[in-house]
């Protein structure tokens, strides 16, 4: 089945919208809120400001959280390993860009 809508849909750039809560991320990634909390505790996700009332994340946390969940599910890496893998992957991406710039 192919459904096509003639009217163009317009959406906002998600990352520019308001800050996310644990509940938002849990819904967007379809995982338990507890799982998101574990991500924060193990340094996989960073909280914007450690507010006494509630944690907040920037929109960029969505991509990071989904990537972490894929690594966890597909490669069965534990949380400390995921935090390390994400940092190394970001480092590799940065170095690749730099390498490209020097070519």
């Amino acid at each position: 089945m192919t459904s096509s809508e003639d009217q163009a849909l317009s959406g906002a750039i998600f990352e520019e919208s308001a800050l996310l809560t644990v509940k938002d991320l849990s819904r967007m990634c379809a995982v338990d809120e507890r799982h998101i909390v574990e991500f924060v505790e193990e340094g996989v996700l960073n909280v914007v400001e450690v507010n006494a009332v509630e944690w907040h994340f920037t929109g960029a946390a969505l991509r990071r959280a989904r990537r972490a969940l894929r690594l966890e599910r597909d490669l069965e890496i534990n949380l400390a390993g995921i935090a390390l893998a994400l940092e190394l992957m970001e480092e590799v991406e940065r170095l690749r860009r730099e390498l490209q710039a020097r070519r």
Binding site: M1, G11, I13, R70, R73, D74, L75
Partner: protein, 313 residues
């Protein structure tokens, strides 16, 4: 439907132990994981390996699969026997997003799906699940905005309760200034909840196709601009392409290869906007006739220049 040799996919013997299968999977999964791998067909290979492992790691599914293996040869047309699956109970834990092969769906489809979502949390009553997709756009889409037709693979539950992926074509107004790795959020375009309730959202992650002229780095754009030796040495005003049309760029005297010139705010129009960088390259005129050779010789005679001075020779 083609018979799939899961043992071959995993590179293990038919009598491999569970430990050997797990080991083979770990290696292949790391090699082909789309987040990690730079192999060209990584995503397809990763799915194939995941599917093979899904079957071979489970004693029930492996036993059922081995029974079939006695029938047709790999690559031959395959049809599951009518009583297939009788006596096997599939737990179906750990199902992935979608996109199993037809072969897998025919064997384990309906059964494997039942209860597949047990493990997943984040259930919100009355609200459909959010969907995620990834698209590759042309750079022009973010520079100027505009509508693009996007073709997405969307998971859906069919009449028999199986998870299948369907094609969905959407016309989407791309927000001007979106950066690589960011998402377009389309409210209400995700899954519909069973019964009454609000549908979830659709998140489209954006990446850009390589541009013939400009290199993208976050919100900044880079252009390698060839200049003649005298333009770099004496300074010049040269025509330069930018995303907003040709501009006259002033090359300062004494420039060299690698000199970086910044046009502030002329990168991707995000907030704040990125910059446009011009990296100079020195292009040498060919010395292919007497006049050109004489010009080079005159320069050699006139300039006491040792380009290898800092190599100590």
């Amino acid at each position: 439907m083609e018979f799939k040799d899961y043992y071959k996919v995993m590179g293990v013997a038919r009598d491999a132990t569970e430990a050997q299968i797990k080991q083979a999977y770990r290696k292949l999964a790391r090699k082909y994981h789309p987040d990690v791998s730079k192999e060209k067909d990584a995503e397809a290979r990763f799915k194939e390996v995941g599917e093979a492992y899904e079957v071979l790691k489970s004693p029930e599914k492996r036993a059922a699969y081995d029974q079939l293996g006695k029938g047709p040869r790999p690559g031959e047309d395959f049809r599951p026997p009518p009583d297939w699956g009788a006596g096997f109970e599939f737990s179906g834990a750990g199902a992935r997003d979608s996109d199993y092969s037809d072969f897998f769906e025919a064997l384990f489809g309906a059964r494997a799906r039942a209860g597949a979502d047990n493990r997943r949390g984040g259930f919100h009553p009355g609200r459909g699940e959010d969907h995620h997709a990834k698209v590759l756009l042309d750079l022009d889409a973010t520079l100027h905005g505009g509508t693009r037709q996007l073709s997405l693979r969307v998971p859906e539950i069919d009449a028999e309760g199986r998870l299948v992926s369907k094609e969905r074509v959407l016309n989407v107004q791309v927000p001007k200034g979106i950066l690589p790795g960011q998402h377009i959020r389309l409210a209400g375009q995700g899954a519909r909840p069973p019964g009454e309730g609000t549908p979830g959202d659709l998140f489209i992650e954006v990446e850009f196709q390589p541009h013939p002229l400009y290199r993208i780095d976050g919100r900044d754009l880079y252009l390698e601009l060839p200049v003649a030796p005298w333009e770099a040495a004496l300074g010049a005003t040269v025509k330069t392409p930018t995303p907003n049309g040709t501009v006259d760029l002033k090359i300062p005297p004494g420039s060299h290869a690698g000199t970086k010139l910044r046009l502030k705010g002329r990168g991707i129009p995000a907030s704040p906007p990125g910059d446009f960088y011009v990296i100079l390259q020195i292009a040498l005129p060919p010395a292919d006739d007497d006049k050109a050779k004489a010009a080079y010789a005159a320069m050699a005679a006139a300039l006491p220049f040792n380009p290898r001075a800092n190599l100590g020779v």
